[in-house]
Amino acid sequence: MSDEERRQHDLVTALAAQGVLNVDGGIDVEGLAERTDSTVEIVQNALAMMGLDQVTAAEHPLYVVSVDEHPEHQDIGGPGETVTAETSLLENETIAPSPLIRALMRMEESAVTMMEELGTVTGQPLFVRVSYYSLGDSDEAGWRRGRAAAESNSPDLESVFRMRFDTDLAESRVSIEAVRPDRRTAELLRVPAATPMVLRQVILTDVHGVVRELSFTHFRADRVSVV
């Protein structure tokens, strides 16, 4: 691919992410080529690389996830649609924290709660997330509060955090990486092995300087963009 073709490809990708490719349910390839001063061939190649040559953008949605919010707490749909993810619990364990967990959560506790959840949208897997909490934050009352917050109208991160941990959020620290999953994760998210994925690490800290949540989320890269 030449640099010119890549520029066109990147532009088409950007337009797909913003939901501006559809015209009456289809992709107007000729129109897109004209509007980008490109050629039909380049546009078709770009769409093909994105897997959009046979389906419309409406059937291949890109969900928009806020950089530090969980998808089940926000509207991740594109323009004109409201979509929220659902989660199901895969594992809930008490474990001894690794050196990394101790360092990132700034704790000396001998045990933490580890929860692994699968996130889906309209029944299709979107992400798998593992979260770590101190034992004191793992009581049932806290979870109920968190659920209530998630089910309220348009909960923002601060509201969800306050309801969940009964204190205010001070900061979020996020790292986003491009990785390949292991075989099990690929099967769980129903993608071919070695498919690129988004790996997001989030650390949420309260106003007292206590790290309340450390999470790692693998998102399907073909379904998610982060803003």
């Binding site: 691919m1 030449s2 640099d3 890549r6 520029r7 490809h9 990147d10 990708t13 950007a14 992410a17 897109l32 004209e34 509007r35 980008t36 001063d37 890109l62 950089v67 530090d68 364990e93 008490t94 474990i95 001894a96 690794s98 050196p99 990394l100 990132l104 001998s110 045990a111 692994e116 593992v130 991160l157 601060e158 205010d168 959020l169 001070a170 900061e171 979020s172 620290r173 996020v174 790292s175 986003i176 990486e177 491009a178 990785v179 390949r180 999953p181 292991d182 099990r184 690129p196 994925m197 988004v198 800290t205 106003v207 790692f216 693998h218 890269a221 998610v224 963009s225 982060v226 803003v227």
Partner: protein, 286 residues
């Protein structure tokens, strides 16, 4: 015996009970996530030896899941494995602010690194503004500057950045500003233009360069990040394999009048780069 001593013994006993009785995790994904985060957080430096048994004990993970996780890190190029040399961390992961364009000379780890990040121009061109660009950036500028830049860190290409900027004045004048603005700001910040640490902040430099280029103060960025596989051309530029995971950041930089001035796409090597964000909320202070 003091209460504190008894409390310590109790906590240690509890920890041993957990480690002794809890089944080992068989999730190579969780082990991989934590090992990679350890490298990124600097908890494991270059030449640190990874030993499967130690990792298994520290992370409560089965030997097999540790093996798989280490193989994944080796595929990332972050560790090397050999019969005589053992398993060692060989590369660091570089953090990039998610919404910032870094200076042309930048030291990600000023206290530790000898080499910094250097950005070089690959290509510049002046083109007629495509209709869709005019629409996206709400501009009536007849021409755009199109550019491609390559960033190299510690001898390795780390990202390719391509972008466009509508120009509302003479194209030659714009190219001249592009060449001189970075050097002017660097001189103002007191950096020597090499790989020195300096005392500048990348945020300040980005805004200063923006103002010099577009003759209007910087307003705010809008970004979107995705993960894609490297195509053959970009894989060749960055020295990675075709299909390797990459971070793709689209960014529009707006001036204080909400006018989009620059639209860029940056492809970061997934094995060596992270995009980071730090947000403060409410009136929380730490």
């Amino acid at each position: 015996m003091s209460f504190a001593y008894n409390a310590q013994r109790a906590a240690e006993f509890q920890r041993r009970r957990l480690n002794a009785r809890a089944p080992l995790s068989t999730s190579s994904r969780r082990t991989y996530e934590q090992l990679r985060a350890s490298i990124r957080a600097g908890l494991t430096e270059t030449d640190t030896q990874f030993r499967e048994l130690v990792i298994s004990e520290q992370f409560g993970a089965s030997r097999n899941s540790v093996r798989v996780a280490l193989a994944m890190l080796a595929a990332d190029g972050l560790i090397s494995r050999g019969p005589r040399t053992g398993t060692k961390v060989t590369k660091q992961i570089v953090d990039f602010p998610i919404d910032r364009v870094l200076p042309r000379h930048f030291a990600p780890y000023p206290a530790a690194e000898k080499y910094g990040l250097v950005v070089v121009d690959v290509e510049n061109a002046v083109l007629t503004t495509p209709p869709l660009i005019a629409e996206l950036l709400q501009t009536d500028a007849p021409q755009i500057v199109s550019y491609v830049q390559l960033a190299v860190y510690d001898g390795d290409p780390l990202y390719v950045r391509s972008g466009i900027a509508p120009i509302t004045f003479d194209a030659d004048e714009y190219m001249n500003r592009l060449t001189t603005s970075s050097a002017e700001v660097t001189a103002l910040m007191g950096q020597d233009g090499g790989a020195g640490a300096g005392s500048f902040e990348p945020e300040i430099e980005m805004e200063a360069v923006f103002e010099r280029l577009f003759q209007t103060p910087f307003g705010y960025p809008r970004f979107r990040v995705e993960v894609v596989g490297a195509d053959q051309n970009i894989a060749g530029l960055l020295g990675i394999e075709h299909g390797a995971p990459m971070l793709l950041r689209q960014q529009i930089n707006y001036d204080i009048h909400d006018v989009g001035r620059e639209f860029s796409f940056t492809h970061f090597r997934g094995d060596r780069a992270t995009l980071t964000s730090h947000r403060s909320y409410g009136q929380g202070t730490l």
